[in-house]
C-alpha cells in the first residue's frame, strides 16, 4: 500500500489497490455457504417427510423398532456432538482473536469428538448387524413391514448423517492445514467460519434424528 498511501481517493484508481490485494469477500463466502446448507436441509428434509409419513402409517412398529435401539448410546453420541459444536465455535472465536495455537487445539478436540461419534455409531451398526438386523436379512424380512421401514430409514438417515460427519472431519483437517499455511488468519476466517457452519448444521440434524429414532418407543 505504501506508494499509494499519499494519493487521495480521487487520484487513486479503484482497481489499482484491488490488483495488489488478493480477492477475498467473506460476506459472499458466507451467503454461498448458507445457500449450500439450505440444499442440505432440504435433502434431509425430504427424508424427514418420509419418516413422518411412515410413522403415522406404522406407529406401533416404529415404536417397537425404536425400543430396540440403545437410548443411552444415542444420548452419549448427542452429547459428544454437542460438545464438538462447542469446541468448533470456540476454535473460530479463538482464531478471530488471533490465538492460533488455541484454535488448532480446539479444532483437534472437535475432530477427535467427531471420530468418537463415528466410533459409537459404527459400534451400534455392528451390534445390529450381529443380531441379523440389516435391510433384507432373514430376521428383518420376518419382522412386520413397519419395522422393516423403520430400520431402512434408520440405516439411510444415520448413514447419510455419518457421511456428513466424515466430510466435516475432512473440512476440519483442511482448516488446520490452511491455518498452518497462514491462509486462514484472524482477518481471513471465511474457511474456518464455513467449516463451523457445516459442522453445526450436521449437529443440528443429529439433534432431530436422535429423538425420532431413539426416543419414540
Amino acid at each position: 500500500m505504501s506508494p499509494h498511501a499519499a494519493l487521495t481517493p480521487d487520484t487513486l484508481a479503484p482497481h489499482a489497490s484491488a490488483a495488489h490485494a488478493e480477492h477475498y469477500d467473506p460476506v459472499a463466502c458466507k451467503i454461498g455457504m448458507w445457500l449450500f446448507l439450505f440444499t442440505e436441509v432440504l435433502l434431509f428434509g425430504t427424508l424427514f417427510i418420509v419418516f413422518a409419513v411412515y410413522l403415522t402409517l406404522h406407529h406401533f412398529d416404529f415404536a417397537s423398532g425404536s425400543r430396540q435401539l440403545d437410548k443411552l448410546l444415542g444420548a452419549a453420541n448427542t452429547m459428544i456432538l454437542l460438545t464438538s459444536s462447542l469446541t468448533m465455535a470456540l476454535a473460530i472465536a479463538a482464531m478471530q482473536r488471533s490465538n492460533r495455537r488455541l484454535s488448532v487445539a480446539l479444532l483437534t478436540a472437535t475432530l477427535l469428538l467427531g471420530l468418537a461419534f463415528l466410533g459409537i455409531k459404527a459400534h451400534e451398526w455392528h451390534h445390529k448387524f450381529e443380531h441379523d438386523l440389516y435391510p433384507r436379512s432373514a430376521t428383518m424380512l420376518a419382522n412386520p413391514y413397519g419395522q422393516q421401514v423403520f430400520y431402512g430409514l434408520y440405516y439411510t438417515m444415520t448413514g447419510l448423517h455419518a457421511l456428513h460427519v466424515i466430510v466435516g472431519c475432512g473440512a476440519i483437517v483442511s482448516a488446520m492445514v490452511l491455518i498452518r499455511l497462514g491462509r486462514v488468519r484472524a482477518d481471513r476466517i471465511a474457511f474456518i467460519d464455513n467449516t463451523g457452519l457445516y459442522w453445526h448444521l450436521v449437529d443440528a440434524i443429529w439433534i432431530l434424528l436422535f429423538p425420532l429414532f431413539y426416543l419414540i418407543g
Binding site: L82, A93, G196, L212
Partner: protein, 97 residues
C-alpha cells in the same frame, strides 16, 4: 475501504458459548428422562419440541444468526416456508386418501 474489510460478525465472548452448551446438555438430559415417562401420544410431540429449542439455540448462537444481519434470517424463513409447503402437500395427500 471500510466496506471492503467488513467483518462478517463480531467475536462472541467464549462464556456465551459455554452457557449455550450447558443449556443444550441439560435439554438432552431432559428429553431422555422425559422419554422414560409413560405418556403415549405426547411422547413424540414433547421430543420434537425439545429438539426444536435445541436446534434454535445452535442456529442462533453457534451459527451466529443472532449477531448477523437480518438477510440470513429472511433466507432461513424462506427455506422454512418452502419446506412447510412440501410437508403440507405430502400430508394433505397421505392423510386423506
Amino acid at each position: 475501504m471500510a466496506a471492503q474489510h467488513e467483518k462478517t460478525h463480531p467475536p462472541v465472548p467464549y462464556s456465551l458459548y459455554f452457557k449455550v452448551w450447558i443449556a443444550l446438555i441439560l435439554l438432552t438430559v431432559l428429553t431422555v428422562s422425559v422419554s422414560y415417562a409413560n405418556m403415549q401420544q405426547a411422547r413424540i410431540l414433547t421430543a420434537l419440541m425439545i429438539a426444536a429449542v435445541k436446534i434454535l439455540l445452535v442456529v442462533l448462537y453457534f451459527m451466529h444468526i443472532r449477531f448477523e444481519r437480518l438477510l440470513y434470517t429472511y433466507m432461513i424463513i424462506v427455506v422454512i416456508v418452502t419446506y412447510g409447503i412440501f410437508v403440507s402437500l405430502t400430508f394433505s395427500d397421505y392423510l386423506y386418501r
